[in-house]
Assembly symmetry: C2
Homo-oligomer: 439 residues x 2
């Protein structure tokens, strides 16, 4: 979900020379005005150079060096395939009707259109005891993640999979849950990094994992593409129960699950007492630009004093959010119709086929490859290499943009992530280049 | 922007009897499972009964008592008039094109479509030195307010106009900037309430106002409808400069300004060094359901250490937000075309005419009435009365829903807010009832 800045805003990454960060006195004597408001110390802690702007920077330099190269971007995971007609049409009709008295709607419920909440339950949580009133429709998983952080506040301790989507850690740092970044380890203080690698079947050794208040867990995982098995998730839920922890389960890639791995944490008995689930239409329905997602907070999930978490989440939603766009919600409803769902799943299959092509390509070259069957991401191991070096090597030899694994945490060192989002012809061309140039 | 809950979710307002808040021990012995995660103390501080659910509750009871009454809701400020055709059509076409390869778009820039940012500058900040890269497009002012709070963090001290939109205080409490609510005063600790009333021309006496890091200031004001004059805003900016404070200026109702009052804080010299501006398409263009707004952070605005605030805001936006819906942004662009802008302004005029009818109605009955000419809201004074009593009295006699002033802070006691949003026939009917029944 992290993605590229416009080149113009990448200027912002470094303060202009004249605005160098100095102590108050230095600034005052330098002769320009600053307020007396202290910079938020949490934002000060955040690493200043982040992944995707750095990738963009390297891409720009690469294109200066090879102006005629046809760069293929398999970096950022962005959908590329047009929406199914019935989905686009339903939004189109909804938007057009907004110019009529019959069709106009103002504020909707912050929690989302009731019909859409009902359809989300019907489609994704049938027989899992999730109720419509436990579903909160949002403008996407990344946005809801930050609202979940506002819910939790700054006093909680957290654990994340390592590697994982950087948003968990970054939003945690912004909320003030973390300590300082330790440069030697690449880890923030007060955050437990749960190493996930082929050695442990991408699932942390919980017998050696310290208790935290909150466990962020993404399955199918971004970046590794690993979908946790039922047995693994059962372990996770038991671990949370034992420790009285809350799992924040990110199922944004659930639509990509092809085997019997659970698509929702609520398939696991006992999870309603310990887990929030964040999910999204982005990668499932190509809604990365349209913006639609949801979060489930079960009524049984209680704070230590017995207070239901859902009440506080409802309050956060009503105070800091005003509902997803009514047009996007109409599109969401169309996605969940029989016809719409079939069509969006065929797009998911398309991306999965792309991922399979990439998996086969790397496997045929003798690399160890993970992911790609339950997720749109392919995770390739380059033992004893630094992931930025691998990134550079692939870019230099094939003009293909990937993502260095280190961008997802120290546990991603030695890996690169390649995205299966793209048009088939680009994927095939990428495969060809990889096969001929990386031999 | 605060609005009604669905009746089903209003069940959430009180935890079920079996889930009474108790100490850990009490809960454990009661035999049900709770996590060991402590409830966020900031959310614990938030007042549990809030304004609009309470109004809804009273409306429901009123309708049980008078099942045949035709209730007119002039409470929540929600737009009712259909969108101009060119605006709806542009969104409709954009949505339809998402099903084509040419028209499909995935992730946009978190900061918003460049063309829309440029048009916002052209339309609202021409000759005010605001640059396109200082404009951050959002899904609405309330949502951006909470992102500004994330930017500021929990260590800042804040001041708000009293009365004002409850979102400033509520988002501040959630961020941990406030102390406890003091029931006797109805005020939270650590928040400075700047009284604004007819006695001070709705502008605080700054010579008696304590310095705070941040000053939330809304003009035209919700609820009083007062637009601060140029002289008043000049005072405010000088006060902020003197104190090194940051003004968070909410101009969501700027389109309603009819006289020479500034529509943007950036009309005031020196403001770029002290002010952030949050604004919105909601009330200007009927986008309450479509969701679109923006925030301006000038490059000259610096923290005490000289670090530009815009860099941190950019980071917050990129971490906690993923851009406004691409369809809504297409609609925003259409609003700012020559034809579109003329049409949305005619809707604004329509609501202003409604407000004028309500002002005239109350004035003819001998009440002291404020607002309504630079804002869609009418603010009526009932000296020596409690605003909930006035609310009940009007509802009982006329079946009209208003908002009791106390809902906007202690300074709103003795007032009610009446919204000019509505269809003309409802406003005329309301006027008729008020004239005949309140005599």
């Amino acid at each position: 979900m992290y993605k590229m800045f416009s080149i113009s805003t990448s200027l912002f990454l470094k303060p202009r020379a004249s605005l160098k960060v100095q102590g108050d006195q230095g600034i005052a004597s330098a002769g320009y005005y600053s307020t007396r408001v202290a910079r938020n110390p949490n934002l000060e802690k955040l690493q200043t150079n982040y992944l995707f702007p750095e990738i963009l920077d390297r891409e720009v330099k690469h294109m200066e060096k090879y102006p005629n190269a046809k760069v293929i971007s398999l970096g950022i995971g962005d959908t590329t395939q047009p929406l199914p007609q019935p989905v686009a049409l339903s939004m189109s009709n909804y938007a057009r009707a907004l110019s009529t008295h019959q069709g106009y709607t103002g504020y909707g419920l912050e929690q989302g259109n009731k019909e859409l909440r009902r359809e989300i339950v019907e489609t994704f949580y049938k027989d899992l005891s999730v109720e419509e009133t436990e579903v909160f429709v949002s403008d996407g998983a990344q946005c809801d993640l930050s609202r979940v952080q506002l819910l939790l506040g700054s006093n909680v301790s957290i654990a994340v999979q390592d590697p994982s989507f950087p948003g968990y850690i970054d939003s945690s740092v912004i909320m003030g849950q973390s300590g300082e970044l330790r440069n030697e380890s690449g880890k923030y203080g007060n955050i437990k990094y749960m190493k996930c690698s082929p050695e442990n079947d991408f699932f942390p050794d919980l017998s050696k994992t310290e208790r935290t208040d909150v466990i962020f867990f993404c399955s199918p995982n971004n970046p590794s593409g690993h979908a946790a098995s039922r047995a693994q998730l059962q372990q996770l839920v038991e671990f949370a129960q034992l420790n009285g922890s809350i799992i924040v389960y990110d199922s944004a890639y659930a639509a990509y699950v092809s085997d019997s791995s659970p698509k929702s944490i609520y398939e696991i008995p006992g999870s309603r007492k310990v887990a929030i689930e964040i999910s999204s239409f982005s990668k499932m329905a190509g809604f990365t630009g349209v913006r639609l997602g949801w979060t489930v907070v079960p009524k049984e999930l209680l704070y230590s004093n017995g207070f239901p978490v859902i009440l506080d989440f409802n309050r956060v939603i009503c105070t800091t959010f005003n509902g997803a766009s009514n047009i996007a919600q109409a599109g969401g409803l169309a996605c969940l119709s029989l016809e719409g769902f079939k069509e969006i799943m065929s797009k998911v299959d398309y991306y999965k086929e792309n991922a399979k092509i990439l998996v086969d390509t790397f496997a045929s070259l003798g690399f160890r490859v993970y992911g790609g069957s339950n997720a749109p991401y392919v995770w390739v191991h380059f033992p004893h290499s630094r992931s930025w070096d691998v990134f550079n090597w692939i870019l230099e030899k094939t003009h293909i943009i990937t993502v260095p694994g280190i961008g997802f945490g120290p546990g991603g060192e030695g890996y690169i992530r390649i995205s299966g989002f793209g048009r088939r012809e680009s994927i095939l061309e990428a495969s060809k280049r990889l096969r001929t140039l990386l031999c």
